[in-house]
Structure formats: C-alpha cells, structure tokens
Symmetry: C2
Subunit: 91 residues, 2 copies
C-alpha cells in the first residue's frame, strides 16, 4: 500500500507522536502527586488545546495516522490536566 | 504548485502550529514572573522535547512546512523553559 520510504516516515511520526503524547503522562502524575498545577498557565493550556484540535483536523485532511492518533490522545490528557488544575485551584 | 485543497490543509496546519507553538510563550512568561517551573516535570520536558525533535524530522521527510516551522520554534521555546527551570531550581 505504501512505499517503504513512507512506512519509515510514518514510523518516525508514530514514535514522535508517542513521545509528545506520553510526555503528558508524567505531567498528569506530577500534578496529581503535588496536588498543584499552579505553574501550568491557563493561557498555555487553552492555546495549546486549541492548536491540538486544529492539528487533529490537519491530520484528518492529510489522513496521516501519526498526527491523528497523537493529537487525539494528547487532547484527552490535556482535558485531564485542566480538570486537575480546576480542582486544585484555591478559590 | 499545490491544489487549492492542499493549500487549505497547509493553512490549517500553520494555524495549528502557531497555536501549539505560541502556547509556550505564556508558559515562559508565567515561569519568569513566578520565578518557578516546579510544577513542570523534567520527565515531561525531556520526553516532549525528544518528540518535538522527531516531529521535526517527520516534517522534513514529508516536506510539510507547518510541521517543520512549528516544531523548530517549539524546540527553541522548550530550551528556554528548561534553562529557566534549571536556574530556578533550588539546590
């Protein structure tokens, strides 16, 4: 279906996507353990999430699986981080 | 050079890349103002940076400008955040 070159490119994309996505897992655990997300700014979280939604649409248009899968999972993790931040913010 | 459809896709990619990249700017300012990056875990920063390097290679192989530009700038901002974190970490 794909030429070997594209397969290598996709593999590279999947490893890249796994790393950038998995990177949010220690962040979620870090926030959970420290019961704090104070140093994660809302500005960053909202802008980043909006970008991830658009990367997802971009990936869907290119039908590039590494981009689609990575951004879908990242979005889910970002939602968890934002829920934790709301919970830990003192009011 | 490109069919209109691909141009729209690239535009979408550039907006996505601008958002996910620009999102690190408030994070840098937030860290600078609070003189703290404690809640940003090293695990997240290293894994994310490694992923960004691979996304850059992926973008180069696809010759997809939105992916190349976004990840190059993100990498530069991540390096700044890591330098600030090292500086603010009490030893």
């Amino acid at each position: 279906m794909e030429v070997p070159d594209m397969r290598l490119t996709s593999l590279l994309g999947f490893i890249a996507g796994t790393l950038t996505t998995v990177s949010f897992v220690p962040q979620v655990l870090h926030a959970w353990r420290n019961k704090s997300c104070h140093d994660l700014s809302w500005g960053m979280l909202f802008t980043f999430s909006a970008g991830v939604v658009l990367w997802l649409l971009y990936g869907l248009r290119l039908w590039a699986m590494p981009i689609i899968v990575a951004n879908a999972v990242t979005l889910a993790l970002l939602v968890i981080i934002m829920i934790l931040k709301m919970r830990y913010t003192t009011r």
